[in-house]
Amino acid sequence: MKKRYIIGGVILVAAVGYLLYMALGSSTIYYVTVSELLDGGSNTYDTNIRIAGKVADGSITWNAEELELGFAVVEGGASLPVIYEGTRPGSFKAGADVVVEGQYHPDRIFRATSVLLKCPSKYLPEE
């Protein structure tokens, strides 16, 4: 009787462990600051990275035909050029707080897979 529970327990733990291992493997996204990313060089290529900052003034290019949005994210004095292939978020404008997810490439351009807008005062009145 005891033996059965132990075997069952081992199978269960192994199954859960395998699922966790498999699922966690490629779905981790690292938060990095812009200067960390610029300093990190080749170490940061090919990992999923999330960056938060402001859209730099005068940096926005929007090609509606090709659906390509280009801009620079500034944070802590450092600036990172970003290219995002997709649709332009509704309230996207210079000075907006954005969270950009994607990968940094050897050509020193950040290819974003998603661009989210952070509007601190959007949902709540300002304190």
């Binding site: 009787m1 059965r4 269960l12 199954a15 859960v16 699922l19 966790l20 498999m22 699922a23 966690l24 490629s26 779905s27 981790t28 996204i29 690292y30 938060y31 999923n48 999330r50 938060a52 509606a64 035909e65 659906l67 997709g86 649709t87 332009r88 509704g90 309230s91 707080d97 969270v99 989210l116 807008l117 952070k118 509007c119 601190p120 959007k122 949902y123 709540l124 009145p125």
Partner: protein, 656 residues
């Protein structure tokens, strides 16, 4: 009116504290006078709380902006219907509303006749009074829900346009009804644990509460998905956002709980596993206000931040640990099962399914808290992509769907292999044949898997219905239709459960279809240009600009062709809300049983000289079956919940 509400709420708090003390004292001492006083106390709390809620709703409807909660979430131009949902757009307002539901349910219980379970009711009332005092403390002492603005504003901030949707009007109340219902179930189970009553006499009544709460919670989640799909414009319905998980996890645990109390092998319903499940379910429910939207990381739910201090969290953890501790002390006294559990029996399968449910919740909670743990250990800030949840939870969910077939195939106690074999011939074999046929025809490998996983439980249910109807026809000579309905009506919990299972099967089909076979296309079009998505051709015909006081609206007119035949026109909108200084998309959805065509206008310049617009179009197969599945869940829940007149209360029913 507002002041009356505020005073009523404070009085309700005082009454709840009194009731908690009096009922505990009454229950411990067995004093009849205190027990009666506590019962009346619950009624007083409910009455005062209702008065406070009425005052709050009155303030919203009359748009009394002197109240902070009203000016934060409502505005002059907000339609009257949505002023109600503005109440639960506020975090404190949500807790306020949720606590009111608990007071209402507690009052219903206090009014019921207690002949059948009079020994545990005083304790249950005492626990409910403590819960009520906790909620009332949160909405009076921790956050003052009736807080006034220092200066009377002319207008409010308004309600986020995304929340101005029918789905959002009913989604939060459904969840809170479920949450409040589980609080009642928790109170009864804990009272039973304290008094060591085995459960036969009270399980019937409480199981109905559990079913009701579970059903509302499930429907609430489905409505939330419907809202996400139809309002947020991203084309999906589930993002594994922490807030979605906060609603899903209690439902999964509640599902496991319902199945564990349905195991009739044990005459003693008070077993460790059920108690542990209801305690953990309740703890997850209480924790849900703390699972915040994280603002920036989750744009879908960035509606409010947490307003509650950490000591509330500590109080919840103490409740959890205290309850589990009491369970640990008491569990040694529980009657032992006379025979060991056979794994090849329905009980064994139920237990296994229960474990799988818990594993599923474990995987979800790992995904929710792991980034925080890594951060706490100094591993830097990380986040998890939704892939984590899809890959870890997806297979487990599919396994659970398959298990619905396994459980019904096996008989109670012990199954003979020959009877199982005959059952499988009618259930698993046809599912397998269909799956292979789909595989050969090349419709899709995932559809083949879905056919196997959904077909097995589906055929099991159909077989059950077929046999039941046939035997009624034979023994009572009823015609097919009459026999079919009589079958359901005479064992509502069992057949209600089957209807719910069919709902789950339909939802699974919708999830598989839309997850693996959706196609998507995004394009910027000028008037007259076309784009292709799946088998549909969309032609951009016209753009109309309209303006009123609150919205500048761009409405695109798109004609939809399939096989070069015009089949309809769709009108997605792109609305600039002046108050929010940003545009919101209103999607257009064309639903057929086979697939949804989902078109969202994601960008246009509002310049009358430039009518080019960017469209995102998706074809989502089988989505509509998810909403139909939700309907089945509601129907099945209602059937199972429907009172049985002919049986005396508390008597045993054959529960699936």
């Amino acid at each position: 009116m507002v002041d009356i509400g505020h005073i009523a709420l404070i009085l309700a708090f005082i009454a709840a504290v009194y009731t908690a003390i009096a009922s505990t004292w009454g229950a411990r001492s067995g004093s009849h006078a205190f027990a009666t006083s506590a019962r009346n106390g619950v009624l007083v709390v409910a009455a005062l709380y209702t008065l406070a809620l009425a005052a709050m709703l009155y303030a919203f409807i009359t748009k009394d902006f002197s109240l902070k909660i009203v000016s934060d979430h409502a505005s002059k131009d907000l339609p009257a219907l949505y002023t109600v949902s503005a109440l639960y757009a506020d975090k404190a307002g949500s807790v306020f509303f949720w606590g009111w539901l608990i007071s209402l349910f507690a009052a219903v219980l206090a009014l019921q006749k207690h002949g059948t379970y009079k020994r545990i009711t005083p304790y249950a009332i005492s626990i409910m009074a403590v819960i009520l005092a906790f909620f009332l403390a949160m909405v009076t002492l921790v956050v003052n829900t009736f807080e006034k603005n220092p200066i009377h504003p002319m207008d409010g901030f308004g309600l986020n346009p995304l929340l101005q949707n029918f789905g959002m009007l009913i989604h939060p109340p459904l969840l809170y009804i479920g949450f409040a219902g589980f609080a009642i179930v928790f109170a009864f189970f804990m009272a039973a644990l304290i008094t060591r009553s085995s459960g036969i006499e009270w399980i019937g009544g409480i199981r109905r509460w559990a079913l009701f709460a579970w059903c509302m919670l499930g429907i609430g989640n489905v409505v939330g998905m419907w809202w996400s799909y139809n309002e947020l414009g991203w084309g999906g319905y589930w993002a594994w956002d922490p807030v979605e998980n906060a609603g899903l996890m209690p439902w999964l645990l509640g599902t496991a709980f319902l199945h564990s109390i349905a195991m009739r092998s044990k005459k003693n319903y008070l077993h460790t596993w059920s108690l542990a499940l209801i305690i953990v379910t309740f703890a997850f429910i209480l924790l849900s206000p703390f699972i915040t939207h994280g603002g920036i990381e989750s744009p879908l739910h960035g509606f409010y931040a947490s307003t509650y201090p950490p000591y509330i969290l500590a109080a919840i953890l103490i409740t959890l640990i205290g309850s589990l501790g009491l369970l640990y002390i008491r569990h040694k006294g529980f009657e032992k099962e006379e025979k060991p559990l056979s794994l090849v029996s329905r009980e064994g399968a139920f237990l296994l399914a229960n474990i799988i449910f818990v594993v599923l919740v474990f995987l979800i909670i790992v995904g929710v808290v792991l980034p925080r743990i890594v951060e706490g250990l100094g591993g830097g800030r990380i986040a998890l992509e939704r892939n984590y949840f899809d890959w870890s939870c997806g297979p487990v969910m599919l396994l659970l769907v398959f298990f619905m077939g396994v459980c019904s195939t096996l008989g109670w106690r012990k199954s003979s292999w020959s009877s199982i074999r005959w059952n499988l011939l009618y259930t698993l074999l046809p599912a397998l044949i269909i799956a292979v046929a789909i595989l050969i025809s090349g419709i899709g490998n995932w559809y083949a898997l879905a056919a196997l996983i959904c077909g097995f439980p589906l055929f099991t249910i159909l077989l059950e219905w077929f046999r039941g109807t046939k035997s009624r026809r034979r023994t009572r000579g009823e015609n097919h239709i009459r026999a079919f309905f009589a079958l359901i009506w005479n064992n509502k919990p069992r057949y209600g459960g089957f209807i719910v299972h069919m709902g789950i099967i339909l939802i699974t089909l919708g999830v598989v279809g839309s997850s693996f076979y959706g196609v998507e296309n995004t394009a910027t079009l000028d008037i007259g240009e076309s784009m292709i998505v799946g088998k549909y051709q969309l032609t951009y015909d016209e753009l109309t600009l309209k303006e009123d006081n609150s919205i500048l609206s761009a409405v695109a007119s798109i004609s939809v062709d399939r096989d070069s035949k015009l089949i309809g026109t769709m009108r997605p909108e792109y609305n600039y809300w002046f108050a929010w200084r940003e545009p919101f998309s209103e999607v257009a959805v064309r639903t057929t049983p086979a697939d949804d065509l989902f078109v969202s206008l994601v960008w246009t310049s509002y310049d009358p000289g430039d009518e080019s617009a960017t469209f995102r179009a998706l074809v989502n197969p089988l989505i509509v079956w998810m909403w139909i599945g939700g309907g089945f869940m509601l129907l099945g829940g209602l059937v199972a919940f429907w009172p049985d007149r002919r049986r005396p209360p508390g008597s045993e029913v054959d529960v699936k």
